[in-house]
C-alpha cells in the first residue's frame, strides 16, 4: 500500500491505496466523487475526464499514486456556492445532453478548451472535444453549449 495526499475539489485527502488503483476508482470509491464516471476500457471515451493541476486528463489512465501531492478537480467541484458553472449552465440550457453519461467528462474537457482558448471556433471546439464520445446527442448541441459558455465567460471577464 502507498500513502497519498491529494486535494480533491478543494479538500485535502490522505489515504492508503494499492499502487494499481486507478485515479478514477480512487475518486469514486474512496473519496466518493461518483460524478466522475467510467465509460470504456480503452481510454477512448473521455467520460472520466477530470483536471489534474488544472489540465484535463482521463482519470482511468492515471494511477492514484501519480496524483500524490497534486490537485484534482472533478465535475462535483465546478459549481460555486450552489451556482452552476457557466459551462454546466450552458449544457443545461442548450439541451447538450440526453442520457447524460458523457456529460461530466464533456463539461470538464469543455472547461479545458475554454481555458486555453476563450473564443474558440466551431472547428476548434470539435477538435478540443475529440477525446470525448457521446452516443446520444450527435454533438450539435454540445458545440452550441460550449459557444454559449464562451460568450458568458468572456462577458463575465469583461464585467469583473
Amino acid at each position: 500500500m502507498s500513502r497519498i495526499t491529494v486535494i480533491v475539489d478543494g479538500v485535502s485527502y490522505t489515504d492508503e491505496v494499492e499502487p494499481r488503483t486507478l485515479l478514477v476508482h480512487y475518486l469514486r470509491e474512496t473519496v466518493g466523487k461518483t460524478g466522475t464516471v467510467v465509460g470504456c476500457d480503452t481510454s477512448n471515451c473521455g467520460a472520466c475526464t477530470v483536471h489534474l493541476d488544472g489540465t484535463s486528463v482521463k482519470s482511468c489512465n492515471v494511477l492514484a499514486v501519480q496524483a500524490d501531492g497534486h490537485e484534482v478537480t472533478t465535475i462535483e467541484g465546478l459549481a460555486q456556492n450552489g451556482e452552476l458553472h457557466p459551462v454546466q449552465k450552458a449544457f443545461h440550457e442548450c439541451h447538450a445532453l440526453q442520457c447524460g453519461y458523457c456529460t461530466p467528462g464533456m463539461i470538464m474537457q469543455a472547461c479545458d478548451v475554454l481555458k486555453n482558448n476563450p473564443d474558440p471556433s466551431e472547428q476548434e471546439i470539435r477538435e478540443g472535444l475529440e477525446g470525448n464520445l457521446c452516443r446520444c446527442t450527435g454533438y450539435h448541441n454540445i458545440v452550441k453549449a460550449v459557444q454559449q459558455a464562451a460568450g458568458e465567460l468572456s462577458s463575465q471577464a469583461v464585467s469583473s
Binding site: R20, G46, L52, T55, S56, V57, K58, L63, Q66, E130
Partner: protein, 285 residues
Amino acid sequence: MIPAQFDYIAPSSVEEAIRALAEHGDDAKVLAGGQSLLPILRMRLNAPGVVIDLGRIGELQGITEEGDTLVIGAMTTYAAVLASEAVGTHAALLSKAIQTVADPQIRHRGTIGGALVHADPAGDVGAPALALGAEFVIAGPGGSSRTVAGDDFFEDLFTTAVGEGELLTHIRVPKHTGWGAHYEKFVRVSHQWSIVGIAATVRSEGGSIAEARVGLTNMGSTPLRAKAVEEALVGKPATDEAVRAAVASVAEGTNPPSDLNGDSDYRKHLATVLTRRAVLAAAGA
C-alpha cells in the same frame, strides 16, 4: 479492468531510477505518461512486479537549445512540445505530427520519450524524429550514457535500442530553422491511429526544393526514412507534376502490414499519394 498488483517506486533522479531497474531486472517496467502502459496493464497484457515512475525526475523534462540542436527531455509531454516556441521554429515537423496524436487529454500526459520507446509502428512520433535526424541519448548502469542515431534506434515492432536496465533520457534534434513542414495522416475516423502517415519537411529556395526529409509511419515494422525520395526531390520545382514523379517510388522496398484498415498494397498506394500531398504542403505549394 484494473491492473494486476505491483510495487510502485517513484525515484527523483535518473541515477536512482537506473539503480532500481538494475535491482528488479525484467520484473520492472518504466512508467512515463502511462498513456500506452496503463492500458496494457489494465488489459493484463503485461504484469510487472514493480513499476518505476519517471514522473518525479525533473532532469528528464523540458526543452533546451544547444547551438544547432534542440535537446528534448524524454519526459517532456506532447502538450509541452506543442507549446514550445523553439520546437515550432526549429523543428516544426515534430509539432505538426504531435498535433495529430490522440486527443488533448492524452497529449497532456503522454511523453515524447514514452512514445519513442513504445515504438508502435502506427505511432506518429517516430517518423518525424527519423526525418529530422534525431539522435537518442540512452542512460545505463554506472552513470554510462550513449547516443544512438535514428537508423539504429528503431529495431522492430515495439523494440528499440533501449535495452534492459536502460532509460531514454533525451533526444537531440538538429535544428531545421525555416524549413516548411507537414504531417499527412490518413485515418477514416477522427481520433484514430495512422493507417499511413507521412512526415515531410522541406527547405525551399526560390520556388524549388533545395532539401527534403521524408519519414513514413506504419509502412513496416518500424518508422522508415525515404532517403531515395529525399534525393529525388532536390532541385525540383514545388509543382504537382514534379513532386508526383519524384515521390512515385516511395513505397519501394517497404513492407507495410495488412489489417482491418487496409491491406499492404493499399498502404503502398496511399503512401505515394500522401507523400505527394505532404511534400507539396511542406513546400507551401
